[in-house]
Amino acid sequence: MTRLLATTALAALMAGSAFAVELKVGAANVTTYLDPGRDHSNVGSQFYYNSFDVLVEKNYDTLETEWRPGLATEWKLVEPTVMELKLRQGVKFHNGDAMTADDVVFSLNRMYQADFPPYQVRARDRLANFEKAEKVDEQTIRITAKKEEPLWETLLNLQQVMIVPMKYTMSLAGDPNALEHDDFEAFSLKPVGTGPYKVAELAPGERLVWERFDDFWGDKAPLERVTVTQIPETASRITALKTGEVDLITNVAPDQLTLIEQDPKLKAVGSATALFHVMIMNVNHPTLKDPRIRQAMSLAVDRDTLNEALWFGKAIVPSTHTMQEYGPLYMPDLVTFEYNPEKAKELLKEAGYNGEEIVYTSFPTYYTNGLLAAQAIVDMWKAVGINGKVEVNDKWTGGAPEMMARNWSNPMYFADPFGSFGVMWAPGGPSQSEGRFNTDEAYAESWERFRFSKDIEARKAAYAELMDRIKADPPLLPLYRPYESWAMSTNIDWAPKKGHIPYVLDFRAGSITFATN
């Protein structure tokens, strides 16, 4: 800490230049690999933005959608399904290689035309509409979509299509001039990108060290070095922050916040994460086949009380599957989910529910407050006459035919309803494929209009139709957006930015500063 203060004072003298500062972060989890293409985990999301760039950048300070040049400086549609992009010149990778059009084409096609299974899986749920990327000349590339694409920028801003070096990747395993699956495996432990920090050390699940990359094409990184250490125990993390061993910590549980607030040297920042904790219900389970029973299971849950009791009122309870981050597609007026115990009782009666046991399965610890919410929900069910039972299981049971109800999450993988509901509840998507959700032609037709209409109003209308279907025959109930906190010493000014996907630790220029105190 003394060292931090000293260097801060020094940094204040060096106005205008980058700080010579080292930041120490204590994280609940440090990733076990870094490969932006295959990863979409909450743990991994923390670490990509500092080291990798996308073609189309975004203003992350605001919830409004404001696209900015990234590794592409301009882009325009040259045909209804073909986008041409001009590439930024003079960009270097952390290993010293210059970024070329070949690297960009390679990075995109490793996903668009994936034959490496972990990439195939990731590409299929969000990048299926892209056919190929091609080099036009050294400064220009073209991307061809299969159908007209309304979300070009959104899908070029994804973590999965961050730009990586081709030659370097090919050289990692086997034949240095050929691309093999082992090259991708090796890359995930020796990642190289074009971002303002290079990965100086990755000890999987233990420690990640970033160092400022002096050849970065944009504003220089404000920190010289960042060490992120995994400290799994919350109490140890908070103690390490209090003793000055680390300057910033992640994942402070809501009930621990008073410990931070009582200490004048510390502060906490937080936000309702762009992710829903949800309760899913198996529409094909014999006991739950009648939609009225599932409607009752949903109407019986007082989510505001869950928010007050478990999150001190800091979580966000949604009226439908929507988030403010969606910009023009945010639809808070739509009411798909509500609390109405009287109606629940009526529906149970109409459906002829005879007290059959309904099991709610919960992971023991995976979701913060997940098990407590499960117990409360089953009690709320009891109040309307549902004979519920909590079963704790650390196995994912979402694909088991005997699963009745359980906890899950629907993260926002990118800021569009397609990036959350659209991935999880697509026709033929994971929920249907696991056999706990059905779609028909009408649903698929609405989904298609929601996904591909170029007119925003048409997309909203189609999304409303999908929500009506969900309301009439519910396979899920979004409970809330959990509240997530970070704590730090008071002389650091950092907060998660609104425009990012959840959990990103953004230490780029303008994202972290040291207050003069």
């Binding site: 899986v121 432990l189 420690r207 125990e233 994912w396 899950w408």
Partner: protein, 308 residues
């Protein structure tokens, strides 16, 4: 002596094969790594694709045979999560754990044997009582409570010691004390009791009668005879700690050891890491047991003669 050692080792090998077989099959009954590695939100087709990629679509017996073959060619495979050889991952994690175990054991031996002897000799005075009270309290306090007190005093209030990691010698102090607290307490009591048993024996009276000083008698005859019990207790404690006891200490102090790794691999169903990690720990435990057995024979000629 050699025949005895061979038998001890053969027994250890059979136990080892049983352990690896159980680990192989039990881990596969309880879950699937795909849910943990890729996350819960993929279609059944994609799940099948990844099962093939990870080689999990093969019949179980074939996977088992392939696993056994690893003992011949040394190819224990890649972690599903970290995508690097499990031998490398486990080696990285085993060393910090062994260091901590070593320092814990050293502190235990350094404190508990002298304390046990003192408690036996001074059993009727306040010194003996004080030692035994200390041992009793030490035995009763769970290690996570001890760790919390140490952190509160030495890190939180005094700010003398670091809480997380294993970077410097200072980092060893609190984890070592936490780890050895129960061992010191247990071994002090056992040493005292073993010494008391021995002190009342006829050969001790003989030793005194033939003119050996109290100190000579104590160390030459007393301690040597008591060492069988002491060795057993050390063996059991170390084996127990190597297998599981480190987990709590490693989690609290963010010590990058094997306990933390095994728990994480078990949760994520990272079979290759779990299998090899358990193998490494089993080898460590069996080695300790075999060494203790052999040490018995060294300490007590009756054992090596009876079992040879």
């Amino acid at each position: 002596m050699i025949a005895y050692a061979v038998r001890v080792i053969a027994k250890a090998l059979v136990t080892f094969l049983a352990i690896v077989t159980l680990v192989f099959f039990f881990t596969r009954i309880t879950g699937n790594p795909i849910d943990y590695v890729i996350g819960q939100g993929i279609t059944q087709e994609d799940r099948a694709l990844l099962m093939t990629y990870f080689g999990l679509d093969q019949p179980l017996w074939l996977q088992y045979l392939r696993f056994l073959r690893a003992f011949v060619d040394g190819e224990f495979g890649l972690s599903f999560v970290e995508r690097r050889p499990v031998t490398e991952i486990v080696a990285d994690r085993l060393w910090p754990s062994l260091q901590l175990l070593g320092s814990g054991l050293a502190l235990t031996l350094l404190l508990s044997i002298p304390l046990g002897i003192v408690a036996a000799i001074e059993r009727k005075s306040w010194i003996g009582n004080a030692v035994m009270s200390f041992a009793f309290i030490g035995y009763a306090i769970p290690n996570f409570v001890l760790a919390t007190f140490l952190i509160l005093i030495f890190a939180y209030w005094l700010n003398w010691l670091p809480v997380v990691g294993n970077g410097t010698a200072l980092h060893f102090i609190m984890p070592t004390i936490t780890l050895s607290g129960v061992m010191i307490a247990a071994l002090t009591r056992f040493t005292r009791n073993a010494m008391l048993d021995v002190l009342g024996q006829d050969y001790m009276r003989t030793a005194r009668a033939k003119g050996l000083s109290e100190r000579q008698g104590l160390f030459k005859h007393g301690l040597r005879n008591a060492s069988i019990t002491i060795l057993s207790v050390i063996g059991l404690q170390v084996a127990g700690l190597a297998a599981s006891g480190n987990v709590v200490v490693e989690a609290i102090f963010a010590w990058p050891g094997i306990g933390d790794l095994l728990v994480r691999s078990a949760i994520q169903r990272d079979y290759p890491v779990l299998q090899f990690g358990v193998i490494a720990v089993s080898v460590a435990v069996l080695t300790v047991n075999a060494l203790v057995d052999i040490a018995y024979a060294y300490a007590d000629p009756r054992i090596r003669l009876a079992r040879a």
